[in-house]
Amino acid sequence: MDRLRKLLCLSLFLFAARGLATTQSIQVSGRYFIYCDNLRIVFGSGDIVVQSGDVKLRGNVLYYDVSSLRGILYGVAPIESTNAAPASGDIVYFQGIPPRFHTESFGERITHKEDEGLRFQLRKPSLAEFKDYALYFEFREFSVDSRGKIRARTVIPYIMGVPSMPMRHFSVNRGSLEGRTVFYLEDLHYTRAEGLALDSRLRLHLRPFHGDFSLKAVERALFSLPGTPRGLLYSGQLTLRPGKADLLNMGVRGNTGDNSFSLTFSHANRVGIVEYDLSQQFSDRAGSDLFSELRARFALYPFKGFSPQFSFRYNWGRSISYSVSTPLRIKEKIKLNLGIERRILREGFESDQVDLLADFGFETRFFSLDSGFRLNRDILEETSRKNFSVQVPLTPIQLLEKNFSLAITPFYLFNSFPSSNGMETSSSPGIRLLIRSLGLRLPLGLELRPSLAVNHIWDGLREDMTDFQTDLALGRRIGNVDLAAEYGLASRFRSRGFWVEGTHARNLSFSGTFQFHDHINLRLRMILDNDLKPETLTWNGRIGLPWNLQFSSFVIYYIRGDRFQSVELFVEKVFKHKLKIQGGYSLALRKFFIKLLLV
């Protein structure tokens, strides 16, 4: 008897759950519907009935946005609803499940009924727009649930515009995938470097495990391409999350081509004023030893602005290092940090070093200061090194409506290090200037964009040198053509012996770019060599042609060698937003080609 009662309760519960599930969707019937996942809009026509809960709407033309669960129905007959007053109109706007609605009638004036706040605009694609996509569906009836899942009846899928096998039932949209386990193909592409590659993805949500994995399968042998015949590249992460917080994270990455993998387990948390994270990494590659490293970090937050930290790293049997730092920040303006770090290495050679460090800095309205002191002690060699640095960047000066900027930074470096002559020291003050302009207007419609960086240092107070980094771009626009000349020079000046040296950081080049809307984009560029003689000519061209064809060209001509270094000329067309056909000539392949690409 008891068992029978339990069975009855379970049946009632299931029945109630099913009833609840039924009310949480909208059923729509009519003579014709079309849906495309790229647009996420359903268009319908002919004797349409929308039903959900106790609401029943009738009309002739429907636009329904699956993303927002909102629809507009035109040519509306009287609305049936047990909970609302009788309504009718020429248009009904409805939203949600079960739907709230608002009607409008078009006479001498537009008259409203029900909730006027419900009126909205929807995107209304034309039928040609639906049919322009690689995959769309035509069907007779459908239902939508609160996650946007569309179950359709009497469905014809159209693939690349071609009708495929009709189906009685089909889910044309799986709805929101948030929190659901899904595996899907992301991309399929072919290149000479990789061969045929298939990208796929697995999003895993099996409580308490949550993961995201990317998989790439590569095939080269089938196309007689050099390299590993085939392989699988994988990467991703898996999280153990029993409640709201992550208990354990696992990151994985690998390649079957070179038999390599990397696996990292990590855990992070905060308990009161203590924050910690722990991780263990394993990685291996064919022909090398297993790498294993344990890391730990603990931080204390006793009060705002102060957070002492302890870090530890242990590479099994090879090295160990640990450090303590005590960063202190006062009113976000003054920074102070004292720390110690020890590194012990046992990998081929032995080393044991201790660093003591102190950093201090502050900010004011007109300048800031950053200074650091390092004392390094080699415990095995019993030697010490010291260095100290300070730099004072002044607040950049902006002129001519911020078009012209000047940044000045004085600095000072001190080093003390052991040498064969005992301890040596060097003391080097310097100054750094950065002058930059976004563009200066010159006569004849020219525009100059200069940038100058100057770095002057008194090296060890014995010798001084000045480094210059100069970039100049001079341009002018005539109609749809942009003309430009660009040059970059790196140079150095030493006052001792009046020594000047310089190199072309960027060789002088002249370019002309012609752009006409989105249809035509042509660019010709000539680069000169160090002796200011023409060296290379490059050409980029893209021209839109009728029937959505596009002509592209890319040429590099080596003037001094009197030969083409690269020539790519091809015409391409994209079909149904998915399929691209390219045909042309490639000098690298030394042949004419036709390529079929999925985009």
Binding site: Y32, I34, Y74, D90, I91, F106, R140, I156, P166, M167
Partner: protein, 137 residues
């Protein structure tokens, strides 16, 4: 097709078929030149509609004789303009019918264009009219 549909237990008469009239184009054009067989259209630069303009409506899959009506309402709801276009002969089928008219007096603003076929509302779109000196480049 019948082999395919019977294999999937779908009857041919149940397949989705677009046979009801629907608005397949509603657009505002700068200029229309029409003869008996051709209709040349000139669109506004940047899609910015300015007075005067032509309002063109194309209704697809229409059967028999009837009346198409194009109404222009202010955003506030007042009817501004209404045109009726009788068309067709009984028993004939038209893949589409085209109605267009020239508007010369609409001041810049936002309007609603509503299309009726034989008294039933088929579609409705917003229409924004820009000032005559709006950037046309």
């Amino acid at each position: 097709m019948s082999l395919l549909t019977s294999g999937c237990r779908v009857r041919i008469q149940d397949l989705p078929l677009l046979e009801d009239p629907h608005v397949c184009e509603l657009t505002a054009l700068q200029e229309i030149r029409a003869d008996e067989y051709h209709l040349d259209r000139k669109e506004f630069a940047n899609g910015r509609v300015r007075t005067p303009f032509y309002l063109l409506v194309r209704i697809c899959d229409v059967e028999g004789a009837g009346k198409a009506r194009i109404s222009v309402y202010r955003e506030g709801g007042q009817l501004l303009h209404e045109s009726v276009f009788p068309f067709g002969e009984p028993g004939r089928y038209y893949s589409h019918i085209i109605c267009y008219e020239r508007h010369t007096s609409l001041v810049p603003g936002t309007y609603r264009v509503v299309v009726f076929l034989n008294g039933h509302l088929l579609d409705e779109r917003p229409l924004r009219v820009f000032p005559a000196d709006a950037d046309s480049s």
